[in-house]
């Protein structure tokens, strides 16, 4: 038996090693005569191109010298003008402002001169292959000369550049206002632009405001009011070559009118692990199904589906922990991802225990299929559990299926979404085990470039008491003003077999405004 295992391991090892072995030895093999011929012609080609390259380099060098001279002249002119304006400013303005404007001028001057010298360097190195990594290659490969050619070409419109410099100088002379920014922004048309060159993370802020009308008479519940549901500050950046960080700090008004600040998510994702593994650690929205990981402002409804609210709390399931995922190789080359998460869930979730932290395991499988260029199908399965001994264990499972349609050519104007999710829970309550389940089915249709109509049906039992259930139907009309702002009108009718705030049913009417400023976020599919 043991030797069998050893054999199996050896087989696997051999298999793993073989392709790399092949790669290492392969280039040594090549067929004889044609090789010599190609080497000969190659050498010739390389020689020719090297000559051409040298000639071009000399030409470029002379151009560069000329440019450098011109730049020096420009700089002198510029400095003179600056000094003159400074003198004028000193004469005219009052003492304190003189000081500050002199300071501004100094900094502007410094920035401008640094800029202009940087420009020379930039135009000199505009050729894409001038990066240090490729310099060695340039020497040996023939294809480098075309790229240098392009750099020679890019060096041409230096006249325009100078006109721009002059314009800049004039501008600075005219107004001594904070010109540093202007100096940074003016750049030759060929240069890779500089915004975002700092190490600051991408910062965004997304606000969610709700106008809420309800038939519920109870004053303890949110009544007819405007509510600032959430302001989410997003900070996203690479940490280092190995990992990136995502943090979302959320400030919001709770139903009782209290404002709370919390870390909604903050995690590091490690992107360069072996075997195509990805790991994240920190606080994150748990990958239970399709909707739960999505932020409040990104769902196509006003609130999370009832089943998520009742199983995991109003804001869904999140936790502090660790998550590891991998793509599963398959013969059809489809996207199949398996993810394992281990976390301590938020206190409102069904796993939570009042007196001790709960360790919850979760396994999530996500698969994705293209039916055509315009339509896709996504299936997911989730299993999770927080085992316990003395009547505290809780388990939950889920299945989700999503169909999306968006034509390639008219994708700006038309789309369709059909999304379904079903969940079940088993919880050891004080008296007996409670088996609850819930589901929702939702659809959204894009009417035009900016208008979307949607509907959702909800049903759920309560995980703490399987005899209680609630269902709801809702409709939505969304106006997407731009990518960064939308308005949503929603109506929902709820019916329960128990009383909440003194009533079996209620009607709710919403108007929702979401707006985002700052970094342009990417949207998950």
């Amino acid at each position: 038996m043991r030797s069998n295992i050893v054999w199996a391991l050896l087989t696997v090892l051999l298999l793993t090693a073989s392709p790399s072995f092949g790669q290492q030895t392969a280039p040594a093999q090549d067929n004889g005569t044609s090789l010599e011929q190609t080497v000969g012609s190659l050498k010739q080609q390389m020689d020719d191109q090297r000559k051409a390259f040298d000639a071009k380099m000399q030409e470029m060098q002379s151009q560069m010298d000329a440019m450098r001279q011109q730049m020096d002249e420009e700089r002198k002119k510029f400095d003179d003008r600056m000094q003159e304006t400074l003198r004028q400013m000193r004469e005219t303005a009052a003492a304190p402002t003189v000081e500050s404007s002199a300071e501004a001028a100094e900094t502007a001057k410094a920035a401008a001169s640094v800029e202009s010298s940087a420009e020379v360097a930039a135009t000199a190195e505009a050729a894409p292959d001038m990066e240090p990594s490729s310099e060695a290659v340039r020497e040996t490969t023939a294809a480098a000369s075309p790229a240098v050619e392009s750099s020679a070409q890019t060096a041409q419109p230096s006249a325009a550049e100078q006109a721009e410099n002059e314009a800049l100088a004039a501008e600075v002379a005219k107004a001594m206002a904070p010109q540093q920014q202007g100096a940074q922004q003016v750049q030759p048309p060929m240069r890779a632009a500089g915004p975002g060159q700092s190490m600051n993370p991408d910062i965004s802020f997304i606000a969610d405001v709700l106008g809420h009308l309800t038939s519920q008479g109870n004053k303890a519940q949110p009544g007819n009011e405007f509510i600032f549901r959430e302001g989410e500050l997003g900070l996203q950046s690479r940490i280092d070559p190995y990992a990136k960080a995502d943090a979302f700090i959320s400030v919001g008004e709770e139903p009782d009118g209290e404002f709370t600040t919390e870390v909604e998510e903050a995690y590091a994702t490690f992107l360069t692990l072996p075997w195509e593994l990805q790991m994240k650690m920190g606080r994150f929205r748990v990958d239970f199904g399709k909707t739960n990981p999505v932020h409040l402002h990104a769902i196509p409804w006003v609130q999370y589906p009832l089943v998520i609210q009742k199983f995991f709390g109003d804001d869904g399931l999140s936790g502090d922990g660790v998550s590891v995922s991998r793509l599963i190789p398959n013969p059809w080359d489809k996207y199949i991802e398996l993810e394992y998460q281990l976390f301590n869930p938020n206190s409102e979730s069904l796993y939570a225990r009042p007196d001790e932290p709960t360790m919850t395991n979760l396994l999530h499988l996500k698969s994705f299929f293209d039916l055509s260029k315009s339509s896709t199908l996504e299936f997911g399965a989730t299993g999770s559990g927080a085992p316990g001994t003395n009547g505290e264990a809780a388990y939950a499972e889920g299945l989700d299926a999503t169909y999306k349609w968006k034509p390639t050519q008219e994708g700006l104007y038309k789309s369709f979404l059909f999304q379904n999710e079903i969940m079940a829970s088993q919880k050891d309550a004080s008296e007996a085990r409670q088996d609850a389940w819930g589901a929702y089915s939702a659809t959204e249709y894009q009417l035009s470039e900016r208008w979307f109509a949607g509907a959702r049906y909800d049903f759920t039992k309560l995980p703490e008491n399987e005899s209680l259930h609630e269902n709801a139907g809702s409709g939505y009309l969304t106006f997407r003003q731009t990518e960064f702002c939308f308005w949503r009108f929603g109506y929902q009718y709820n019916a329960r077999n128990y009383k909440e705030a003194g009533s079996f049913t209620d009607n709710q009417l919403w108007i929702q405004l979401d707006f985002a400023i700052g970094a342009h976020g990417a949207h998950k599919y």
Partner: protein
């Protein structure tokens, strides 16, 4: 490269046979001679597991290394076409975008991650055109080779001629303005020349053994492009580099007159020359580079600001402008709604010209050269035909 194929195939096949031989031996021992310490079922399970694992591994490795050809994934079809032209047989280029799709609004489908996963080189347009989706696909691909900063990640906008680089502070009040300049730069044949050079240099860096081939392909592509741009006759007499040098300095027509070659100007430049100075209306600010190269001017855009859909008020302004300045052509991509342009055409007689600005955007645009051919043919034909006709 052929020898490489056979050798690695040989090594792989021996490994496979070896594996199967070992599995057979494993099976025999399990069934026959040796007294089984564990239950037979366990062995069976182990056997199945082992087979599944081997098959999965073989499948995985066969999938990853296509010996000899570089797997290039580009964000748009134009980059794909240029990469394919430069790479030739040594490259298999795939595009994420379809030619008739608006490249601003691609959704990061997981299937794109599967495409990117196998890429040796990822080429993007850059200048924030793909800002809404590129990062998600790259992260999701789990492919270390193509992450930004790696040799396998190439920004094709390096070193190109940029237009409309904002000089002040950019805010979203201006609509969808890109801080690094207008990203629709591939419509200028001069830029296509630079892009091809950039791609050839990077391909040579990744695959130095085929550098000469890439260099030769690049030369072929550039010659073909030059001939289409200026006409074969003129390229033969003056040379492509010289012509482009003159063209970018704005000295081409003067030079041709001086040398008595004005009649020789053919190709796209020749076809568009009669229409220099003409005004057009476009839908989106995506034709700036084309218009700049061929001496047209954009009087206005259907979108009041880039990315903001046409409004009735702005349509009225355009109607006024079209009437007063006798504008004859309204140019738009196939993926925009032609309702508003048709309304303006109905009121003014301006000709609505639907024209793909990317390869595969319409059947006539099969590769980069035929794509520009198509645009030039359509635009020049529209100028030639009498105003007041609507394209059907």
């Amino acid at each position: 490269m052929k020898a490489y194929n056979t050798l690695s195939d040989f090594v792989r096949s021996t490994a496979e046979y070896g594996a199967i031989g070992r599995l057979v031996a494993f099976e025999r021992r399990a069934h026959g001679c040796a007294p089984l310490r564990c239950g037979q079922r366990n062995v069976q399970i182990l056997k199945i597991l082992c087979i599944v694992l081997s098959v999965a591994l073989i499948a995985a490795f066969c999938g990853v290394s296509h010996a000899g050809t570089l797997n290039v994934v580009t964000t748009t079809t134009d980059l794909r076409a240029i990469a394919q032209a430069v790479g030739g047989d040594h490259v298999k280029a795939t595009s994420i975008c379809e030619g008739n799709q608006d490249p601003h609004f691609i959704q990061a489908k997981p299937s794109y991650m599967m495409v990117a996963r196998k890429a040796d080189l990822w080429i993007r347009i850059g200048m924030e055109l793909e800002i809404g989706w590129e990062g998600l696909i790259l992260d999701g691909s789990r492919n270390q080779k193509i992450q930004p900063g790696q040799p396998g990640h190439l920004d094709a906008s390096d070193g190109i001629l940029r237009l409309e680089v904002p000089t002040g502070k950019v805010t979203r009040e201006m609509g969808d303005v890109h801080p690094e300049g207008n990203p629709h730069y591939w419509l200028d044949p001069f830029n296509a020349r630079i892009i091809a050079g950039t791609i050839a240099a990077r391909l040579s860096q990744i695959d130095p053994t085929d550098a000469a081939v890439f260099g030769a392909n690049l030369a072929t592509f550039r010659t073909a492009l030059d001939e289409r741009m200026f006409g074969p006759q003129l390229v033969k007499e003056v040379g492509g580099d010289k012509l482009w040098d003159l063209e970018t300095k704005g000295q081409l027509s003067g030079y041709l007159k001086e040398k008595n070659l004005a009649g020789q100007l053919g190709g796209w430049a020749g076809a568009m020359a009669p229409f220099r100075g003409q005004q057009i209306v476009t839908f989106h600010r995506s034709w700036s580079y084309f218009v700049n190269r061929f001496g047209l001017t954009v009087a206005d855009e259907m979108e009041p600001k880039p990315g903001i859909p046409p409004s009735p008020g702005h349509a009225l302004e355009i109607i006024e402008k079209v009437k007063s300045q006798k504008i004859r052509v309204l140019l738009m991509e196939p993926y925009y709604n032609r309702q508003a342009p048709d309304l303006i055409a109905g009121k003014t007689g301006v000709r609505v010209l639907v024209c793909a600005n990317s390869v595969d955007g319409e059947p006539a645009a099969k590769d980069y050269l035929s794509m520009v051919d198509n645009v030039v043919n359509k635009v020049s034909a529209a100028f030639k035909s009498a105003p007041g006709q609507k394209e059907k």
